[in-house]
């Protein structure tokens, strides 16, 4: 216990005493290097990819084994300490932001691929394994793991499970929920359970489905069984230019109406292509108001047929220019701009705020025109990248946090976009999760009774309310307060809608 008391320090005596109490209990169940308590050790864990929201945890636990995870969970339950699980910390909604009175449970040391079964086409991995590492390990067997979030170099499978992460190939290959066969997880009681598995059906309720995307509020996942799929023999991308964003949207609808499900279908507006082109030299048509990237994959015969179909549909939809990748290098170059849109925004502007609403595709033109009006209204620029096939928008609002009032305007700008998404029948988050960032917009999307049902799910898994509390689902008082503020400001943009 000497080791513990020597390293525990906090200015506030109450906090210090609590930290000491919890640290002593956890030290008994963790290896020597498994507990961080010094201020300077805790600092790197203060935030995830949403750096605007920071909080120092009471302690950081770094277990190595499932037994240690379960012991940490039991200890926290016994001492009523909140517990926040964290993977690589790349999340964009603050889902892994620590709880000030809680333990941050890092699963970074669970970084082993336990087994790849090429015949069964599965990978059994620990939650701290990076997304891309799975596909790299499976490549030798001609297989890969399909979900490919932009952060796939760094983000971990555990985080993907928590967020139900997407990527640019979701329309054809699905989200994390479609590619996870099973999980092993620790309940708040410290017991290991298995949900799903290599067999496709399981008895009882589909608890696996509700665990995926639950943002660490229900269980601590300790092992994941992933589905692997055969790597297509060939992939080619068609790049099409349009002189109006609405026409590009029509092109997307025309492809789908023609029975084509491209492997990837992405759109960028002129501000986005202008931002990335000097940076990556992807060869984008800078005179176009919008470009579409439509990828076809499969056997060589299939790709030939589909690429020809894509070209003819997009030409008929009014594409002003078309280019087809002629080599793997060129295909990757076409994609490079899209994949680097976020860093490019970072080069263009001191800060940017990335939104993640989803809309029915038919509303695309309307939303982009509305965003253009909002740029005027808030005096801020916005570049738009868009998972067009899925209707998932990523407007990147550019601002400078050091300029008085700009962050507040960016925040209002973003909220107005999300309100519009909800009004049009969409959602406030397509793939980044609610975390802390979209708690208020959740009040717009769901009624009190619906949010009560979410809390019912939460309580069924975690009756003590200790797993990542305060995230993902806003409380009834919070939404009531949010409603009052908004009405008070008189800024409710769609007063005709029943909301609260």
């Amino acid at each position: 216990m000497e080791r513990v008391s020597a390293t525990v320090a906090a200015a506030d005596p109450v906090r210090r005493a609590r930290r000491l109490e919890v640290a002593r209990a956890l030290a008994a169940v963790l290896p020597d290097d498994g507990l961080l308590a010094r201020e300077e050790e805790l600092r790197p864990y203060e935030c995830d990819g949403l750096a605007a929201h920071r909080q120092q945890p009471l302690l950081v636990a770094l277990p190595r084994t499932e037994a240690q995870v379960c012991a940490v969970v039991r200890t926290c339950r016994d001492l009523a300490v909140p517990l926040v699980a964290r993977g690589a910390g790349t999340g964009l909604s603050g889902g892994a932001m620590p709880h000030g009175e809680g333990v941050l449970l890092s699963l970074a040391r669970f970084d082993r691929i336990l087994d790849i079964d090429p015949l069964a086409r599965t990978a059994r991995v620990q939650p701290g394994v990076r997304n891309l590492a799975v596909s790299e390990a499976a490549a030798a067997f001609g297989l890969y793991y399909a979900p490919d979030p932009s952060s796939q170099i760094a983000c971990t499978i555990g985080g993907n499970v928590a967020e139900n992460s997407g990527g640019v190939h979701c329309l054809k290959y699905g989200l994390t929920v479609h590619n996870v066969l099973g999980v092993r997880a620790c309940t708040i009681e410290g017991e290991l359970i298995e949900l799903g598995g290599a067999a496709l059906d399981s008895p009882g309720l589909d608890l696996l489905a509700v665990t995926l995307g639950s943002e660490g509020l229900l269980l601590i996942v300790t092992e994941v069984l992933l589905k692997l799929v055969p790597r297509p023999e060939r992939a080619q991308v068609v790049m099409a230019s349009f002189d109006e964003v609405g026409k590009a949207g029509d092109g997307v609808a025309a492809l789908i109406a023609a029975g084509i499900i491209p492997a990837g279908l992405e759109m960028m507006d002129r501000q986005a292509t202008a931002a990335v082109e000097p940076f990556v030299r992807a060869g984008y048509d800078l005179t176009a108001e919008a470009i579409l990237l439509a990828e076809s994959d499969g056997t060589p015969e299939e790709v030939d047929e589909e690429v020809a179909a894509i070209e003819s549909v997009l030409r008929a939809a009014g594409a002003t220019a078309l280019a087809v990748s002629r080599s793997e290098a060129e295909r990757l170059r076409f994609w490079s701009g899209r994949k680097n849109a976020f860093p490019a925004a970072g080069r263009l502007s001191p800060d940017y705020y990335c939104m993640d609403g989803t809309i029915p595709r038919r509303a695309l033109g309307e939303v982009l025109r509305a965003i253009a009006r909002m740029e005027e209204k808030y005096g801020l620029k916005c570049m738009n990248v868009f998972h067009a096939g899925d209707g998932n928008l990523h407007p990147l609002i550019l601002f400078d946090a050091n300029q008085e009032g700009q962050w507040e305007r960016a925040d209002q700008f973003g909220t107005e976009i999300l309100e519009l998404c909800v009004t049009l029948g969409g959602t406030v988050t397509g793939e980044h999760g609610v975390g802390v960032e979209k708690l208020n917009p959740m009040c717009l999307q769901f009624s009190d009774a619906e949010r009560a049902a979410f809390f019912a799910v939460k309580e069924a898994f975690d009756p003590y309310g200790l797993l990542n509390p305060g995230k993902a689902i806003p409380t009834l008082p919070r939404c009531a307060e949010y409603g009052r503020q908004r009405v008070h400001r008189g800024a409710l943009p769609h007063p005709e809608l029943p909301r609260f």
Binding site: P118, L119, A120, R121, G142, E163, N164, C170, G174, E191, L192, I193, L195, A198, A199, L200, D201, G204, L205, D206, L207, A209, V210, S214, L218, P230, P232, A253, I256, A257, I260, G298, T299, E301, E302, D304, E305, P360, R361, H387, D390, G391, G425, T427, V428, T429, G430, E431, H432, V434, M442, Q445, A449, R451, A453, F454, V457, K458, A460, I473
Partner: protein
Amino acid sequence: MDPTLAQLRTAVIEAHRARTALRLAGAGTKDFYGESREGAPLDLTGYQGVTEYEPAELVVTARCGTRLSTIEALLESKGQFLAFEPPSLGGDPTLGGTIAAGLSGPRRARAGAARDFVLGAVLLGVDGEVLRFGGKVMKNVAGFDVSRLLCGSLGILGPILEVSLKVMPLPREELTVRFELGEAEALAAFNRWAGRPLPISASAWWNGIAWLRLSGAAAAVRAARTQLGGEVLTAEAARDWWRQLRSQQHALFGDAPHLWRLSLPSTAAPLTLPGAKLIEWGGALRWYASAAAPEEVRRHAAAAGGTALHWRGGVPGGRFQPLAPAVLEIHRRLKARFDPHGIFNPNRLVVGL
């Protein structure tokens, strides 16, 4: 409010107040499915109609009482379909029953299960609240995925009033080939083929013959057919074969007193259970017309890494594989919070809930 919905709400509120059980009833095609059927019937077939369908959005939304045949005919008229191929078991099921049962057809191993296509659902809560979860868009991570939790719930959390499903374009070309193969060879081949970029949309094995259905772009189907070989079925024979399997009109489903449905890892070696057997889903679904003792069947399934469901001939309370205690506890608490007086389909999915 829609008058049918108003009546349903009144019935649910009244049952909740009086603590009387309701048996949620659709077309009744799966009345045999589940542990037990209890309570006064609540007829959901009157709440029907496709409420939204725009082919370019790849989403169809319909009320629970809508017949599957209505939805499938509408989709087909626009060149689309439900890729999980929900089974129609001796009649024309409703959409609500299809999703509440959560069963999938021959395309399961390739395309995904019923729950994979659920984008959103509307639930009627015990207090008569109309609760909307998920949505009508492809990607949505706002709130817990309650709509997928409802898929396969057999109504124990409440009536599913409306469902939004992702739909897919019909394959341009479809072709079925068959091979003479023993069981072990067929299982090995199914798994090997599934690991290659081949457009296999369904597979089955019965009595020394393996069937493969190829679906997709004409060029891909042609190329795969050349690679794989085998005897090509006529379009009509192929359609009949997969329809028989999907609707369980195959001889195996005929009149054997005991029929078991085993969900196993696709690579599990052939089981030594006695009785006739049929394999689907590339080896992941195995049917046994077996008179073996239930505990023996379950032991075999567990040893192979899966579970066994006593599809026909089982006793109430003993059809599904029992749940692990910690998993059962989560079920109990979910049921207690969604339906505190236990009025919805008591004991249907899990005895005691």
